[in-house]
């Protein structure tokens, strides 16, 4: 190394090179700047979510009504509890991570191993929770009617409680078959056919006088507008074109398509970060186990991966606020 250094006559001066003004190793500094750039990517996502929220501020879905599931509590409305639990899981795995870093400072290999393992388990539990959340979101609960303008109409009863399509619609016998690759036009298929046609919905809706249509629009108090019986029937007949069950990137039963898109992209991008975080943690865990850092004389690598892990937690804190709370 020394052989390559050229003498410049400025040795020892501030700009002579060789000093570390930020007093931090190259790896750690670059991790910080990577985190900075990643933070800007996430804020781009969240800011554009804010743009959509402001643009559709009078028709945006109410998050409390969408995320109401909790494991083993079927049919119980439990808004927020599950995401709050996920937040705690991630904060706690951040704590075990910082405990691993702390143990690393004291060169306690067994403690570092133990806390790294806890961190990895926490990360895996979080990923599983997110997968479950996605499953519920994609599957949907009540179903909705799609309008010609690309909006959704939801069904409520007299008390204003949501009613699932299953509860009042009966599918009429139909000759229409799903086009698969093996019949009719070969190697051409189509997406799964909706379970009910618009006609089925109209018949079922007309037969149940206690049902009303709830539009996407929000009232002054932040509730969704519920139409009268006559308005509901007219709206369904004039504007309804089909049903939506669950969510994909084109449409969802919760309301504005952008709501689903942002859900998939923001929580998905964050979940991808958690996944890579877990993988990197596993690599570092095995390195700790085989004594790489013990021989190296310091556990700075644990610190660096720790920075990334805390950042993932930091992002979730913001996603939690802006997607679920605000």
């Amino acid at each position: 190394m020394e052989a390559t250094v050229t003498r410049t006559g400025t040795e020892g001066k501030t700009w002579g090179g060789g000093n570390q003004p930020l007093k931090v190793s190259y790896g750690k500094m670059m991790m910080w700047f990577f985190i900075l750039s990643d933070a800007l990517t996430f804020s781009g996502f969240l800011a554009s979510y804010g743009f959509a929220r402001y643009k559709f501020s009078e028709s945006w879905p109410i998050a409390d009504e969408v995320f109401t599931h909790f494991p083993f509590l079927h049919g119980v409305e439990a808004p927020m509890y599950y995401v709050a639990l996920m937040t705690f899981i991630l904060i706690f795995s951040s704590v075990t991570m910082v405990l691993a870093v702390d143990a690393g400072h004291q060169m306690k290999k067994s403690k570092v191993t133990f806390y790294m393992l806890l961190t990895i388990i926490g990360g895996i539990i979080f990923l599983g929770s997110q997968a479950w959340e996605w499953k519920n979101f994609i599957q949907g609960t009540y179903g909705a009617v799609e309008t010609r303008g690309g909006n959704v109409l939801q069904v409520v009863n007299d008390e204003g409680h949501r009613v699932a399509l299953d509860e009042f619609v009966v599918a009429a016998p139909t000759e229409r078959l799903q086009q698969t690759r093996s019949n009719a036009l070969w190697f051409v298929d189509e997406p799964t056919l909706p379970r009910f046609t618009m006609e089925d919905v109209l018949v079922g809706f007309a037969a149940n006088p206690n049902l009303h249509i709830r539009t996407q629009e929000l009232t002054e108090t932040g509730d969704k507008v519920v139409l009268t019986r006559a308005e509901s029937l007219a709206k369904l007949e004039n504007e309804g074109i089909g049903i939506i069950e669950g969510a994909n990137l084109q449409k969802n039963e919760y309301g504005n398509p952008l709501f689903g898109d942002f859900f998939f992209f923001i929580t998905g991008f964050h979940g991808f970060h958690v996944l890579t975080g877990v993988l990197i943690n596993i690599i570092i865990f095995f390195n700790v186990l085989i004594g790489t850092y013990e021989r190296r004389g310091h556990y700075e690598m644990v610190e660096k991966v720790g920075l990334y892990w805390h950042f993932v937690d930091l992002v979730w804190v913001f996603v939690f606020t802006f997607f679920y709370l605000v």
């Binding site: 931090v24 009078e58 927020m80 400072h105």
Partner: protein, 120 residues
Amino acid sequence: MAHDTTHAHQSNTKRIWTVFIILSVITIVEVILGIIKPEVLTDTYFVSLKLINWIFIVLTIWKAYYITWAFMHMEGETKGLRRSVVWTAGFLIIYLVFILLTEGDYVHEVMKRGQVAWDF
């Protein structure tokens, strides 16, 4: 602020658990507010944003401060590194949010005035 190097090998376990308790309490407060949604807070507006949302945002930034300063150990880094990360992110994010929210509000006004049909 400046972290003395002699402390680097001491255990900070007590501080870690304190910060964990603070973060947990803030989260619990957020969840309780989000479930109760007191009318005083949802009906009062401050700079065209509901008071409850201001509270959520302030609590979130407070949590972010603790995670960055205590867990990511930003409090121990030099002023130069701290500022090059925090100030850069702070400036660019505030700028982006300001522009996009202003624009979003404008587009909302356009739709409201009926220049664009969206419910048909």
